[in-house]
């Protein structure tokens, strides 16, 4: 029973030193807050807002793809002059897919996912009072906010927003003559992303420093929860690769506005020869994908971390193969920086490079497979608590496997020739990074909602409905999409009925769109549940999921510095679920199937080397 005493001892100990409780005004508490918990909520709510816009955009172009001949009043309402009489303009179609991609990849899945949970969990799970620099953290959020505002503002410029695809390959993105969206819209796009990169770098540096320096006593690297490992490594990849995108964006700005020729050469457009000479669009592709590929791991690794944590907690079992999980995170991170060329097999780069990138790309399947098998084994002989977060975690593994397997086809240069840039690719990356990362985000929201909103919990039954409709809908949209790709339909086509060959894809498009409408509609339930629960959610116990990690030992009511008393010390790894005592008669702490990290080693248990 001494463990209980110890737990309570820590909890009951109220420090008289209230140095960290200063007077706060509305502005310092809710707007320019330097508290990581508030910043994480700001990231989440901004991310959800951007996500709503991004997803509604996809609804618009899905309607267009399913019923290209139909006039939709909804187009006129949302798109105004871009949809006269409810007929969508081809240029706004391209703008919609461009901005949908940009918003979802950067604003939702990078900032909304990593920004939210790195901020919330890094200090709380490593036992720190806050981030290493609260001020930089605040600046990071507000730069993100600014870049969101600039991006949204770009939707309203005269010639339309950026519409060269989210990969903004020049010359299309460099020349306003080539497409109207490459005028002011693209300038704002580049500005927004430059600010976004600054935000991301400030955030990442802060996460790295915090994880390295501010771990509580006893919290060695091998005792870190996998969430922290994932956030830590994600931040490192971000610091390595985002500056390269920044330089690419800068050079593109130079080409556009200052007459340089980094990416442009031999161009005849709108009846005249441009002076640009000697640049190469392929160079831009290299620079873009040097970030662009690690970016998808920046998106998926935090989701993997969240899933590992949620799955272990709800399985009431340690995560299987903790060290293998850490090793595979590191391996994925390393490999992610040397596989970018698989986006460029047929870009005109040397075919020998294609062989090299095929090799490294297929290598990355190995750590990914290890992770998938470890998650499945974590479920084996568990005592699964089917909370909504757990369901999303299981679904994450499912979509990650499905989407990951088609990666084996795309990563193979020979096979890529015929499916490159078709809907097969769209289906692949939506499942493996889009849907999977969103599942990670949603699992995180359901799981840590009580931590974010002072003990309030989201409604479970609404969560179940949200989950099942989303899970079915996501496969309903993206599984048939593989067929469209293998039929040879290129992506980013405003309509595929302009010539007869693809006419027989009409009913697949209709089915995908109906699933999309259903899936998108059900997100309203989630938003309702989220916002309603912030104010009216039932308050649960302090540690609702019986979790071992430190965040649940912190005060339910948010205080500056997280713990009212001294910071808890750590005596064990974070996965002591269902650990039995030496005689294997009961759990180490009788009647309690988990041992929080701040409980010292008990007399009746074996110390294990994990």
């Amino acid at each position: 029973m001494s463990a209980h005493a110890q737990v309570h001892g820590v909890e009951d100990h109220h420090d008289d030193d209230h140095g960290h409780h200063h007077k706060e005004t509305f502005v310092t508490k809710y707007i320019f807050s330097q508290d990581h918990k508030m910043i994480s909520k700001q990231y989440l709510i901004t991310g959800l807002f951007m996500g709503t816009i991004g997803i509604l955009m996809s609804l618009l172009f899905r309607l267009q793809l399913a019923w290209p001949d139909h006039k939709f009043t909804i187009f006129e309402v949302f798109l105004g002059k871009w949809a006269p009489d409810g007929v969508m303009d081809p240029s706004i179609y391209l703008a919609l897919v461009t901005i949908h991609g940009t918003i979802m990849v950067f604003f939702v899945l990078t900032a909304g996912l990593s920004g939210t949970f790195s901020n919330l969990l890094i200090p709380l799970q490593i036992g720190a009072r806050d981030m290493a620099s609260g001020f930089l953290n605040m600046v990071s959020y507000w730069l993100f906010f600014l870049s969101s505002v600039v991006m949204l503002f770009s939707l309203f410029v005269e010639a339309g927003p950026a519409s060269a695809g989210w990969t903004i390959y020049p010359p299309l993105s460099a020349l306003p003559q080539a497409i109207p969206g490459s005028g002011a819209g693209m300038t704002l796009w580049l500005t927004s992303i430059a600010i976004f990169i600054a935000s991301s770098l400030l955030g990442s540096l802060n996460y790295i420093v915090t994880v390295i320096n501010l771990r509580t006593k006893g919290m060695s690297m091998t005792r870190l929860p996998l969430t922290i490992w994932a956030f830590f490594v994600t931040a490192i990849i971000g610091v390595v690769s985002f500056p390269v995108l920044f330089s690419a964006a800068l050079m593109l700005i130079m080409d556009r506005s200052f007459g340089t020729s980094f990416f442009l050469s031999d161009i005849y457009i709108a009846g005249e020869v441009l002076h640009h000479q000697g640049g190469s669009p392929v160079l831009f592709e290299h620079l873009f994908w040097f970030l662009g590929h690690p970016e998808v791991y920046i998106v998926i690794l935090p989701a993997m971390g969240i899933v590992s944590e949620v799955m272990a907690t709800n399985s009431r079992k340690p995560i299987f193969g903790y060290r293998a999980m850490v090793a595979s995170i590191l391996a994925i991170a390393f490999l992610s920086t040397i596989v970018w060329g698989h986006h460029m097999f047929i870009s005109g780069m040397n075919p020998f490079l294609g062989s090299v990138f095929t090799f490294t790309t297929l290598l990355i399947a190995i750590p990914s497979a290890v992770k998938a098998f470890n998650w499945i084994t974590t479920l084996w002989k568990g005592n699964l608590q089917m909370n909504p977060a757990m369901l999303f975690s299981i679904a994450f593994v499912s979509t990650f496997i499905t989407g990951g397997l088609t990666g084996i086809i795309l990563g193979d240069s020979a096979l890529d020739i015929n499916v490159h840039d078709t809907y097969f690719v769209v289906a692949h990356f939506h499942l493996v990074m889009g849907i999977s990362a969103l599942y990670g985000l949603l699992a995180g929201v359901y799981h840590w909602f009580p931590k974010m909103f002072q003990g309030r919990m989201m409604n479970k039954n609404l969560g179940y409905i949200h989950f099942w409709v989303t899970a079915i809908g996501a496969y309903g949209i993206f599984f048939p999409m593989h067929f469209v790709g293998m039929a040879g339909l290129p992506r980013r086509y405003y309509t595929n009925t302009n010539f007869p060959y693809f006419d027989d894809l009409a009913d697949i498009n209709v089915v995908m769109t109906i699933f999309a409408i259903i899936t998108i509609s059900v997100q309203v339930i989630f938003l309702y549940n989220f916002f309603h629960s912030i104010f009216y959610g039932k308050r649960g116990p302090k540690n609702p999921w019986n979790s071992t990690t430190l965040e649940w030992t912190a005060e339910m009511k948010h205080v500056h510095g997280n713990w009212d008393g001294p910071i808890p010390h750590v005596y064990r790894w974070s996965y002591d679920y269902s650990k039995l005592n030496k005689d294997e008669t009961d759990y180490v702490i009788p009647g309690q199937d988990f041992i929080p990290q701040n409980v010292p080693l008990q007399d009746n248990e074996d110390e294990m080397d994990h």
Partner: protein
């Protein structure tokens, strides 16, 4: 068919929401300590639903193959395409096998080990042997796929000059394709966008003797059985020359010349007789007839019946009409091809007009 599917999906959705609501209402009856944390009853329901979801995935896979298996591309019309299709088939078998197995394990475990207050999870933290097994198996399988893939890739991309390939330039501009044949000497004249002037739209150097007999056309004709080496150029933005029926694709990049080579093996006429194509064309024509009925009712012209042709599509976003940038490809017998080419004017003839 479409209407039926739409109705089916809507009805199924309605039923599932209604059923789920009922399940949750029933499950809600007895609140445990905190009603927002999964109770054993929830665990039970959700566990069963996991098996239901597994069934849904399998049924979805079977149903989509049954409904839409016919939209996929027909057999390859090029020599190397057979190799690609073969590799694709092997990869597909591997990923379907792995997918079916792992999804089954995942959902089955979620069902079998659903939580129960009386059960105890097994503390099972790691096992090096298992980790080794599922590291080494992907290594072996992937090594096989990589080696096969790399040999195929190298075969496709390395063009042997001794094959004496037919040289054809594919020229991309917003938003159409042109093709340039090397003429009798099978050599393309030098060209640059700075030489574009009047009728010389491809900027071929008029002073280059190799360019005099070049022939520029807007419909690509290829002789069956002869290797064709495509030299790709673009005059404005990135385009991608995508010939799905030949399993061929390469980007067209302003400022550089890219290349791709293949040997067409099936003439357009033969491909039109292909069972899959016959079926596909019939299906498309059924759809077009339906549309025509609606069109004529509205006083517009009916659609012409569709016959199959190979297509060159643009597959890299290139501007507003990206979706409508294509060129017809005709694969002919050697004689027909020669006859067709003889009719085309040479560059000199065009310029002197």
């Amino acid at each position: 068919m479409t209407a039926f599917l739409v109705i089916l999906v809507i009805i199924l959705f309605g039923i599932s929401v209604w059923q789920m609501n009922r399940i949750f209402q029933l499950a809600k009856a007895k609140p445990s300590t905190n009603s927002e944390i999964a109770s054993d009853k929830d665990n039970n329901t959700q566990g069963y639903l996991m098996m239901g979801f597994l069934a849904f995935m399998y049924i979805l896979a079977i149903l989509t193959f049954w409904l839409w298996g016919d939209v996929l591309l027909p057999e390859s019309g090029s020599e190397h395409g057979v190799e690609i299709d073969n590799l694709m088939l092997i990869s597909m078998i591997v990923i379907f096998f792995v997918g079916i197995l792992t999804q089954w394990l995942l959902h089955y475990f979620a069902f079998v080990y659903r939580g129960n207050i009386n059960k105890r999870a097994t503390f099972y933290a790691d096992n090096d042997k298992l980790e080794f097994i599922w590291t080494i198996i992907p290594v072996i399988v992937l090594a096989g796929l990589i080696i096969y893939g790399l040999f195929t890739w190298t075969d496709i991309m390395n063009v042997d000059k001794d094959d004496d390939p037919l040289i054809v330039e594919l020229y991309a501009q917003q938003f159409n394709w042109k093709a340039r044949y090397g003429g009798n000497d099978n050599t393309l004249g030098e060209a640059n966008v700075r030489l574009i002037e009047g009728i010389n739209q491809l900027g071929v150097d008029p002073a280059d003797p190799n360019g005099q007999d070049d022939k520029i056309v807007t419909e690509l004709h290829l002789p069956v059985g002869r290797k064709v080496l495509f030299k790709m150029r673009s005059q404005d933005v990135l385009h991608s020359a995508y010939m799905p029926h030949f399993r061929a694709q390469m980007n067209c990049v302003p400022g550089m010349i890219t290349q791709f080579a293949f040997t067409p093996t099936v003439t357009t006429e033969e491909m039109r007789q292909n069972d899959k194509i016959v079926e596909k064309v019939a299906k498309i024509n059924r759809i077009r007839t339906e549309k025509s009925i609606a069109l004529t009712a509205a006083g517009e012209e009916a659609l012409e019946p569709y016959t199959f042709d190979y297509l060159l599509l643009c597959n890299k976003i290139c501007g507003i009409s990206h979706y409508n940038m294509q060129m017809k490809i005709v694969v002919d017998s050697e004689e027909d091809y020669k006859a067709w080419l003889a009719e085309q004017p040479t560059l000199v003839e065009q310029l002197s007009k």
